[in-house]
Amino acid sequence: MTTLTLSKALNAGLRKALENDPKVLIMGEDVGKLGGVFRVTDGLQKDFGEARVIDTPLAESGIVGTAIGLALRGYRPVCEIQFDGFVYPAADQIISQLAKMRYRSRGHVSLPIVIRIPFGGGIGAVEHHSESPEVIFAHTAGLRVVACADAADAFAMIQQSISSDDPVIFFEPKRRYWDKGEVDTVAGVRRALPFDQAKTVLDGTDVTLLTYGPTVRTGLEAALAARQDGRGIEVLDLRSLSPLDMDTICASVRKTGRCVVAHEAPVYAGLGAEIAARVTEQCFYHLEAPVLRVGGFATPYPPSRLEDHYLPDLDRILDAVDRTFGY
């Protein structure tokens, strides 16, 4: 076991992927000499060369579009989109091309491409650097959408995503890049949980808290605080946002009878809405209360001096938990 920050764990996972498969490429803005603005690709160009770790022109659609061409040629590109709010220029290539190519070709074409996106707020950034666009991609059939929340998962899930023959939108919780965790860099990924499964990060009996990415830590802190009040919150890290692991979700909700979903993205038409509908349908007779949601407001992301109000924190999660006991 090695103690690594989430960012270093991603770096180690990318390095493994580059070592294990000569077809793996990394491409994006500033990923080479600089190592990326968050240093996730630090040192990789030096060790694997400019043909495999490609500093691209500054054009997101160009990055994803050429990655599609490279994948058609047999490569496995890992694209970095520098910030969440910069993915929209590439949305056409992702939604109309990347997601649909297997379907359009009746299975003849695989596009094993990973698009890494640092997402979410909490770092005091300027506009367009704190967004949570995951539901746009979860709504797009043909994509797999995952989010890692800790260093161990970052290491394993990035490698699993690169091995996937389906395109993967890989969300990285940018305000957790510097969080440290224990990572088994020797065992490899074969023993890791499949990347399309949710995991229980804290057992509890009274209410299920479903979350992912940066709010997993927030949820854990809320659960520890609730424990002091004698309330057992079971915290699930969804990990896979599309497809959703409804089996794990429903098993927990049937046990606890209550469910809260927390994410930074706006609550309105967010992933929580889909989960609430499915949990209600599949766990109706086990529910003691409606599924409640905590998250961003139906506003654009605010200036960063206000982001602490916008982001679901420990108190807002506990407030929702309290409300599920009011029914």
Partner: protein, 384 residues
């Protein structure tokens, strides 16, 4: 032919610039069927090659004409005609090596023909039976791309892959004059240029992007755009199959030899509507069409073959007979083409090397049961 509606007269744009004079575009065969030599583009074709190209031109036009008729009869949802662009497509496609990769738009029926795609694969797309569905690597012909310009980036990425493989291959990306306004096409130019990718950008300037004339896309001739990106641009008579062949051959060779991209502007004309749903009389003059009829890409080859004695009358009769046969086959195959089974909706969303995601599987099972419920009702009704 006269202009049929008053609106066409007022809405029509001035006729496009006609670069007919020597030096304004590369031409090896005049509209009258006379061969011209060009010092930079020697023609590496013998009589048999030219006869084969004539056959290609006639047959793809026949398939196209048949498809338009099938749409009018309700057998196709829509059709995007290549009428007028046969020479640009056949000339460029016949200049490719078998290993070269093609990235088409949705109008490259002539190129598809040269890459061995069964015309029925194209018709089934426009009939709504599939989204394409051929194996691009088998034919070295990527799927039709409908979003304008997107494929130029795929083509560029593919060319970057060829570079990494050290292969003696190149890529050709097809697109139209309207596409040159798209961000993706300009990004493709940037990527191809800075990475010196082995790619030829083949722009069929057919003068019209649905109703928008070229002057709504560009203030400079399109081939001159290349200079700003740092690679050569050349304009060719897009209705001259021999010139399109020679210019493409040279550019592809340069790409394979590591000289980077070339932009070819094939100056041609969309003789028909944008698609079968379009009505060009609303935006262009009949006189423009008449002018372009005199530049027909097929007639000039026929005139050349006749004048030089490179083909006997039997040759033309045989090809006309073959065209008739293909037309009949296309007609019959289209009319009898079955719809896919309903549950095919759920196929190939994700890789089949993993189990189908449970949410999708549940939808499939639910819908299958729903469909079955009708069948069992029918069975009950018929057994009563």
């Amino acid at each position: 032919m006269t202009v049929e509606s008053g609106t066409a007269t007022t809405a029509a744009q001035p006729a496009p610039e006609m670069p007919d004079q020597a030096g304004e575009f590369i031409q090896l065969l005049t509209p009258e069927g006379e061969r011209i030599d060009h010092p930079e583009y020697p023609l590496e074709l013998d009589a048999a090659d030219i006869r084969a190209m004539y056959r290609d031109l006639v047959l793809v036009r026949r398939i196209d004409t048949e498809a338009i008729a099938l749409q009018r009869q309700g057998e196709l949802g829509i059709w995007a005609s290549l009428l007028g662009q046969e020479a640009a497509q056949i000339g460029s496609a016949r200049a490719l090596e078998p290993a070269d990769m093609v990235f088409p738009t949705y109008r490259e029926h002539g190129v598809a023909w040269c890459r061995g795609i069964d015309p029925m694969r194209l018709l089934e797309l426009y009939r709504g039976v599939s989204h394409g569905g051929w194996d691009p690597e088998e034919h070295k012909f990527h799927l039709y791309t409908i979003v304008i310009g997107s494929q130029t980036l795929h083509a560029t990425g593919y060319a970057m892959g060829i570079q990494r493989d050290g292969a003696d291959e190149a890529v050709i990306a097809y697109f139209g004059d309207g596409a040159t306004s798209q961000g993706d096409v300009n990004e493709a130019f940037v990527f191809a240029s800075v990475f010196n990718a082995p790619i030829v950008f083949f722009c069929q300037n057919n003068q019209w992007a649905i109703s928008a004339p070229l002057e709504k896309q560009s203030r400079v001739p399109l081939y001159q755009r290349a200079r700003g990106f740092g690679f050569p641009g050349v304009r060719v008579d897009g209705n001259d199959v021999l010139a399109c062949y020679a210019v493409t051959k040279k550019a592809m060779r340069a790409a394979r030899e590591g000289q980077g991209p070339t932009l070819i502007e094939a100056f041609t004309y969309r003789m028909g509507a944008h698609t079968t749903t379009d009505d060009p009389t609303r935006y262009r003059l009949a006189s423009e069409l008449e002018m372009w009829k005199l530049r027909d890409p097929i007639e000039r080859v026929r005139a050349y073959l006749v004048r030089t004695g490179l083909a006997e009358p039997d040759f033309f009769a045989d090809i006309d007979a073959e065209a008739k046969q293909i037309g009949a086959r296309v007609r019959e195959a289209c009319r009898t083409m079955p719809d896919p089974p309903p549950l095919a909706i759920f196929d190939h969303v994700y890789t089949e090397s993993n189990p189908m995601p449970s949410i999708l599987r549940a939808e499939r099972e639910h819908y299958a049961a729903y469909l079955d419920s009708f069948e069992s009702e029918e069975n009950e009704a018929s057994s009563r």
